[in-house]
C-alpha cells in the first residue's frame, strides 16, 4: 500500500468504517511509515477533540412538554377515556412508581385543562363534552388518591405532606384513603404532617367513617397542638360524640394547661350546641377550611 492510498483510508480506519479485510493493510503501512503515522495522530487529535465538544442537556421543560403534546394528540385523535389505562401502563414501565405517578397526575390535569378549554370555547355546552369533562375530572380525583396512597408512607415528611395535600379539592375519598389518612393522623411522628392530615380529614368529615375516626383520634393524640386543633374541629363539626373522649382527656394529669382550658371551652360549646368563634391566633385556624369545595369546574382548574 502506498502513502497516497493509505492517507485516504486513515479517517475510515479511525472511524471504524473500513472493511475488516483492509484494516491489516493500513495497519501494516502505519508500522513502517512515519509520515502516515503523524497524519493519523493529527486526525485522531481533531476526531478525539470533537467528542469533547460540550452539548448541553435538554432542559427540564422538554419532557413535560412532550407528554402534554402526546396527551393532547391522543385526545384529539381518539377521544376515548380508556386510553388512560394505556398511558398509565407505560408510565409505570418507564419510570419509578413515584415519577410515574407525578407524570400521570400532571397528564390528567393537562387533560382536564384541554377539556375545559374545549368546553368553554363551545358556546352551547353539549352533553358529550360535559360528560367527557366529568370523566376527566373523576380521573384526576382518582389519580389524587393514588398519589396520596403512594406517598403517605414515604420516609420524608415533605413527601408525606405532599401526599396529604392531594386531598385538596377532593370531595370524596375511597375507604383506603380514609384509612391511610386516619392512620397518619394517629401515628405520624411529625406534628406538621398530623396537623395537615387533620385539616384534610376535616374537609372529608361529611363521611361517617371520617367523623368516627376523628372522634376516636382524640384519645390517641399527645401533642398539645394536635389536641387543640382536633378539639376545634369537633366544635366546628358540632360532633357530640366527642364530648366523652374530651372529658376523658381532662382527666389526664399530663394535659397541657392551655389545652385544658381550650377543651373545657369546647365541651361547653358542644353542650350549648353552638360553634365557637374560631380563635385566630393559632396557626391551625388559618388553614382550616371546613367546607369542601364543590363543582367540577372548581376541581378542574
Amino acid at each position: 500500500m502506498n502513502c497516497e492510498h493509505a492517507k485516504e483510508q486513515l479517517l475510515d480506519y479511525l472511524n471504524h468504517e473500513l472493511p475488516e479485510a483492509e484494516r491489516p493493510l493500513v495497519a501494516a503501512h502505519l508500522e513502517e511509515c512515519t509520515e502516515c503515522r503523524e497524519e493519523l495522530l493529527a486526525l485522531q487529535r481533531v476526531w478525539g477533540t470533537m467528542s469533547a465538544i460540550p452539548v448541553p442537556e435538554p432542559s427540564e421543560n422538554v419532557r413535560p412538554a412532550f407528554y402534554a403534546m402526546l396527551s393532547a394528540y391522543k385526545e384529539e385523535t381518539q377521544a376515548k377515556p380508556s386510553s388512560w389505562a394505556a398511558v398509565w401502563q407505560w408510565l409505570q414501565a418507564v419510570f419509578t412508581p413515584q415519577q410515574a405517578l407525578r407524570l400521570a397526575y400532571s397528564l390528567a390535569l393537562v387533560g382536564v385543562g384541554v377539556a375545559v378549554g374545549f368546553w368553554l370555547n363551545k358556546q352551547p355546552a353539549q352533553t358529550a363534552d360535559n360528560q367527557q369533562l366529568a370523566t376527566l375530572t373523576k380521573q384526576v380525583a382518582d389519580m389524587r388518591q393514588v398519589m396520596l396512597l403512594s406517598l403517605i408512607d414515604n420516609p420524608s415528611a415533605t413527601e408525606r405532606l405532599r401526599a396529604v395535600s392531594y386531598t385538596k379539592e377532593l370531595n370524596n375519598a375511597n375507604p383506603r384513603v380514609v384509612e391511610a389518612l386516619l392512620s397518619t393522623l394517629n401515628h405520624d411522628e411529625n406534628v406538621n404532617v398530623r396537623l395537615a392530615t387533620l385539616e384534610a380529614l376535616a374537609q372529608l368529615a361529611h363521611e361517617p367513617a371520617v367523623r368516627q375516626g376523628l372522634v376516636q383520634s382524640l384519645a390517641k393524640q399527645e401533642s398539645p397542638l394536635v389536641q387543640s386543633a382536633l378539639a376545634d374541629v369537633m366544635v366546628q363539626l358540632q360532633e357530640k360524640r366527642s364530648v366523652k373522649p374530651l372529658r376523658r382527656l381532662l382527666n389526664d394529669p399530663a394535659l397541657n394547661e392551655a389545652v385544658r382550658g381550650k377543651i373545657k371551652e369546647s365541651i361547653q360549646s358542644l353542650s350549648n350546641g353552638q360553634a365557637a368563634p374560631s380563635t385566630s391566633n393559632k396557626p391551625y385556624d388559618e388553614t382550616f377550611h371546613p367546607t369542601p369545595s364543590d363543582g367540577a369546574a372548581g376541581t378542574a382548574v
Partner: protein, 174 residues
Amino acid sequence: MLRVKAGDVDRMGLLFERYHRKLFGFLYHMLGQAEASEDLVQTVFYRMLKYRHTYTGEGEFRTWMYHLARNVLADHVKKNRHSVRHTDVAEWSEKIGGGAGADEKLQREQEVATLHRALAHLSEDYREVLVLSRFQELKYEEIARVLNTTEGAVKVRVHRAMNELKTIYLRIEN
C-alpha cells in the same frame, strides 16, 4: 416503531425517552441554540406522531428520525433566515478563549472551544455529515439513507468535511 404506527401512540413515550437526547444533540450542533433546539425536538416528535404512516419499517427508526429532523431544521432555517445563528457557541467559546493557556487543562479547553467554533463555521452540508457520523454515531450506510444518497457519496463528503474542519481550525487558532 411499527407498533406506534399501528396506533399504539403511547409507545411514542418510550421512543422519546430513548432518543430525545440524541435528537437534541443533533439539532443543537446544527443550530447552535439550545432553546430553539428544544422546540424543534418537540416538532420532530409531533411529526413522528402525525406522519407515522410514512414510516415503512424498512431500516432503522433513527434514520427516519434524522430524516424528519432535517426537514424540520430546514423549515426552521427558512423561517428564521435573518436571525443570528450559533450564538450559544460564540458566547461560550469567547468565555473560554480569553485566558492565557497556562496550564494543560486550560489549553485543552481552548482546543475544544476552537474546534467547536470551527465546526460552527463549517458549511451546513459538511457539518451535517460530521455531526451524524461523529456525534450521532451513525454508520456511513445509515447517513446515506438519511440523506437519500449513496454510501460512497457520504464517505467522500465526510473526508472533505474533515479536511475543511482542519483548515478552519488552524485558521482560527493562528
